[in-house]
Amino acid sequence: MSSAFEIIISLEVQAELLTKSKMFCSCPNSFGQKPNTNICPVCLGLPGSLPVLNEKALDLALTAALALNCEVSSFSRFDRKHYFCPDLPKAYQISQYEFPIAKNGYLDIIKEGEKIRRIRIDRLHLEEDAGKLQHDGSASYVDFNRCGVPLMEIVSAPDLRSPEEARLFLESLKRILLYTGVSDCKMEEGSLRCDANISLRPAGSREFGAKVKIKNMNSFKAVQKGLEYEAARQEKLLSARNVVYQETRIWDGERGITLEMRGKGEEKDYRYFPDPDLPPLDISPGRVERVRSALKLRAGEVY
């Protein structure tokens, strides 16, 4: 990377929470079972079924929020995010949009021989996982086991300035989530996932360039490699005075390249609205204090 451009990266990290049961039903939260054996009417979204929040998931999210120095919201609620996909049985995901559990945190990263860099965290929210699709020739199969597994999404600010910093952020975050018992963070099993937004801008510029979202980076190494590839791709385009389009690309680890995934400029309308089946989250000051006192290690003490 020449010094003509500055790299801007933000990460969207999803961590499966270490609860005993799923987020809205009593199915075990476990990995690696035979397809469609760990399911019930609730996580299958069968007609008439209703979600009930696993309070442990909220406690774990609060733990992470405090460990990441976030402001915990006094009001938070679940919204429905709508899209059609065979692995999403209700055709909406219970997620959080307007009122996440926590906002405005930070995480410090250290590069060898350099001073501490403080990376801001925009938001932290809870959502349910979807199932998995498997394709076999002309047929497609759905495994619903993962439906309703509790996920925590952590979105960083666009404060990361290199693929290496992105990796360091992830490593640091993983340590915190492991030590606080929030998640087991196994990227290979998918219990920690990461999408990255990356854009370039001319050095010294204050405006952001068009950002590209990169998916399918399934290891820390892949995150760094994928972002390095993408940064180089964008630099080549910009240097030749070509345009970088805002789009979602997928990392192909075997070939070591990113590929176009969704159509350029295709904004999805998820039609978020408050989930009428779930009351606002119970985030009382007493509960936050209880979680705080149970929290043994704070983010800054991990090093």
């Binding site: 007609p47 009930v52 497609s140 039609r271 009428p276 009351p279």
Partner: protein
Amino acid sequence: MNYYYKMSVAEAARALQNKEITSKELTESVLERIEEVEEDIRGFVTLLDGDEVLLEAEKIDQARVSEEPLPHLAGIPMALKDNLCTRGVPTTCASKMLQSYCPPYDACVVEKLKESRTILMGKANMDEFAMGSSTENSAFFTTRNPWDTTRVPGGSSGGSAALVAAGEVFFALGSDTGGSVRQPASFCGVVGLKPTYGLVSRFGLIAFASSLDQIGPLTRDVRDCAMVMEIIAGHDPRDSTSAPKEKEKYTEYLGRDIKGFKVALPRDCFTEGLDAEVKKVVMGAVGKCTALGIEVEDVSMPHMQYAFPAYYIVSTSEAFSNLARYDGVQYGYRADGAGNFVSLYKKTRSGGFGQEVKKRIMLGTYFLSSGYYDAYYLQSLKARTQIREELQKVFRDYDFIVTPTSPTVAFQVGEKGDDPLTMSLSDIYTIIANLAGVPAISIPCGFVGGMPVGLQVMGRPFEEGRIFQFCYALECLLGVRNQLPETGVKRGGTVV
């Protein structure tokens, strides 16, 4: 042919407990009645096998003979609206989409009715996914009004109301999103209650609009309604919107003095659109209240004008979301010939849903679109808050709000087919209670041209007991209870 089927739930329960009759005799009477009139009424989407139903009745009779303790309503035949999940029994929502769907679990209310050893006779017809006011939107057939089979029974719980009114079951459950229990109760001359939001668990009720839906009983008198509520009300941890309330003995309210109760009459409900004859009957009933020592006063509720748009935005938005899951992947109808996911969705949803359901899904899709959310959905929430506050204000000074249940008596089948707006406007008095979450009941209060007229009583949240207390006294005074039409001899409005 005996006439046991004409008894009320309370009468039948007493006769069973006194061993004057057996549950088998009671069930046989109902089966004979079904044989006699169901061809004309068409209230059942699914009718359970008579032999198996009788077997269940015999088991209860044996238990009674051997002096086993039995719940109060054990052995009484009933029906369930076909949007209440019944394990192993088809639950179709009167939609092609779920025509073959058999749920693997029972709704909370179904569990409770099974524990009470009531006898399920079958599943009742309805408007598709509970969207409609006449059962004409059923994908299968239209149920007929037992008082005049050329007329609709109302909707969406029209099958439930018609079955109760025709003597085919002793009681039924319906669901009420904007009047879907009360309006058919009114049209069929029976009692129908929409309980306070959160009083009856929605677990296993196939959702139309989650923040408005409540399950409620349809019965032939007020006492029966109170008895059924004693069974189905109560907190359920599987429904996060279920209220953590202690169970109440509603029947204990019956017969208590009602002197000193204050009733509000919203004058906005007695103006344009209300049929003059219906108004006369309702006002006549209200006039009699004063004889009971009840104070009746006019009130103004100006925010009621927002009820209709607010209801339409909230209910269609939630319906868009709740009905998104019917995609042909897991269960239910799946269209043939789809080459990929997108065409599977398009073909399945185009072919599986009826016109009215599609219309409402499209409306909801529009209201929640980015850029329109604030203008529609958010505004409707504000209107909803204002309506709720307006009701709270009235309830500070008054115990009840009384209105007609519907502006007209039951209309002719096909009469409003081309005018969906008029049909929806027949819900105008009932939607307020859903928007505000308050309880509301419809009780028969007289007839216009041989067709029943319903009176609606709204009360404060969780004051169902006082509603029963008031309506029981009113029912005694009006002398309109447990009236069955002479179905079977009357067809097309004339005696044949």
